[in-house]
């Protein structure tokens, strides 16, 4: 049977002709190159995917906070102000406009880029051991610090630095605050005899059109010059403290529903003529416990116009106080849904990490799957 069947199959097979296709070799080699390119692409996608996953899951805040490529025109306050831990020090100090400045838990002077949200640790010269105040101007372009009586002001745009040597008047400096015009730096300290002193350094060297009241040095003067926002002495105050031009203390009641046991308020600047940006501390039992940023109407406006907004709850609990470029806080539009900060790790208006990491992950997975399918189809 087998022999007969084989003969019949052989006879049947001989009806098939064969004419070689001269392009076969070239097609095979092209397929080989294409497969290699796809394999390389798939490898890149996998590596990128793994890198992205590692980045998303990493606890290294430096990598997380330094990775965004997003740029916000004009700048914004980040919705999360994280302590990045220890970062590589930037020796080129021309890092551009900043939104936030503070000393991190690693005792580094950290600024957050106003437009990209990146954390940068600056290699500032002549830092004191106690670190002392680090003060960012309201427009986010100037950074001031001191060591003893020496005052330094760095221009973040071009990296140039102004040095104000210690004098008899400021033998030691304890506070540095900026007037709303970002031109006048107010300092408090002691003179060479140990007596209290204070003064104003003008960056432009020109006289300002607005005159500061004598009480201006007690806190942060408002753009109108009518009030000075002053830090609370305790953490259970039921009102934020202001001083008017005559030196009288004016209280601005805090929302009792948010802070039933009171709170501590440290003003950071003025976002408008009558809007104060402050760092508040809510004791346990508060609506927001711990350090957070708030925005509220000053007491020189009628109570009917008062508002109190929480800017962000995510601030370093140990790095107090922060210094904020308050000009980046937008003017209020009257709606409670208005976003006052920007989420640099996701799309604008998102509170969480946003869809971006998940979207990128899905895209990478899709690309990898497509590459795999194409590879299989070409091999089939």
């Amino acid at each position: 049977m087998s022999t007969d069947l084989r003969e019949e199959l052989d006879a049947l097979a001989r009806t098939q002709s064969f004419s070689p296709d001269p392009t076969t070799w070239d097609r095979g080699r092209r397929a080989r190159r294409r497969d290699r390119a796809l394999a390389a692409l798939a490898a890149v996608v996998v590596v990128a995917g793994l890198g992205g996953a590692a980045l998303l899951s990493t606890s290294d805040r430096q990598a997380r906070t330094a990775s965004t490529d997003e740029v916000v025109e004009g700048g914004a306050i980040p919705s999360r102000i994280e302590d990045p831990g220890e970062l590589d020090l930037e020796t080129d100090l021309a890092v551009g406009r900043a939104s936030v400045a503070f000393f991190s838990s690693a005792a580094q002077a950290v600024v957050i880029g106003a437009t990209d949200g990146r954390h940068r640790a600056l290699d500032l010269p002549d830092l004191s051991l106690d670190r002392g105040p680090l003060s960012l101007s309201p427009d986010g372009t100037l950074l001031a610090w001191r060591n003893g009586g020496r005052i330094h002001v760095l221009d973040l745009d071009d990296g140039t630095r102004a040095h104000y040597p210690s004098t008899r008047e400021h033998a030691d400096v304890s506070t540095l605050t900026w007037a709303p015009d970002s031109d006048r730096l107010l300092w408090n300290g002691t003179d060479d005899r140990g007596g209290k002193s204070g003064g104003v350094l003008t960056m432009s060297g020109q006289d300002s059109s607005s005159v500061l009241s004598p009480s201006a040095l007690r806190g942060i003067p408002s753009p109108t010059g009518q009030l000075v926002a002053v830090a609370s002495l305790r953490t259970d105050e039921d009102a934020a403290t202001f001083v008017d031009r005559r030196g009288r203390t004016v209280g601005r009641a805090l929302p009792a529903d948010l802070y039933p046991d009171g709170a501590g308020v440290t003003p950071l600047g003025w976002a408008g003529d009558h809007l104060v940006v402050a760092q508040a501390y809510g004791p346990p039992g508060s609506y927001v416990e711990g350090q957070h940023l708030v925005l509220f109407t000053s007491p020189d406006r009628p109570r009917s116009e008062w508002t109190f907004r929480i800017v962000t709850r995510d601030v370093p609990q140990d790095a107090v106080p922060l210094s904020i470029a308050v000009d980046l806080v937008p003017g209020l539009d009257g709606t409670s849904s208005q976003r006052l900060t920007h989420d640099f790790s996701g799309p604008s208006g998102s509170d969480g990490p946003g869809w971006l990491p998940y979207g990128l992950g899905a895209l990478l997975a899709l690309l990898a799957a497509l590459a795999f399918v194409r590879l299989r189809r070409h091999r089939a």
Binding site: D4, L12, S17, D21, G28, A380
Partner: protein, 163 residues
């Protein structure tokens, strides 16, 4: 000898033989051409790796490729013919009847039949080529012959009454 000339020499020498096997596997002249060309493209693609024994690679590629193609066609083509009904021989010659009957076998059955009775491979060798067990080869071979007898009773002498 360069890779290209070595490949061309192989195609020139073994192409016709491979095409015959391809025809038996597919039962269609055009599909057979496509099957050989597809296998040769794969051979060109992996020539550096298989140039010492390209024919074994091309044959194995054809066996698997044909089954793979059939799987794809199965979901896109619908036969209007009664599958198990004995086929009426249009041409009284045995060859045409065998050709028709072979087309009614499944690709796996046909492939086993070709390997066993045309390529003269043993059950073990056939199993190795197809990546299946010897028992499966034996079973499929028996089913294929039984089917041929059902489809074309006049082939009983050719395929044996008890094969």
């Amino acid at each position: 000898m360069t890779d290209r000339s070595g490949f061309d020499a192989f195609v020139h020498a073994r192409g016709p033989v491979l095409a015959r096997t391809a025809y038996l596997l597919t039962g269609d002249h055009h599909l057979a051409e496509d099957l050989v060309q597809a296998a040769l493209v794969q051979a060109a693609k992996h020539w550096e790796r298989i140039h010492t024994s390209p024919e074994a690679y091309v044959r194995r590629t054809m066996y698997h490729q044909n089954i793979s193609w059939w799987r794809r066609r199965r979901f896109t083509e619908t036969s209007l013919e009664a599958y198990d009904a004995p086929a009426a021989a249009v041409d009284p010659t045995v060859r045409l009847t065998l050709e028709q009957a072979l087309r009614r076998l499944t690709p796996r059955q046909r492939t086993v039949l070709v390997l066993r009775y045309f390529e003269d491979l043993t059950e073990v060798q056939t199993a190795a080529e197809l990546g299946i067990s010897s028992g499966a080869v034996k079973s499929m071979s028996r089913q294929a012959l039984q089917r041929l007898r059902v489809l074309a009773p006049e082939l009983a002498d050719l395929v044996g009454a008890d094969a």
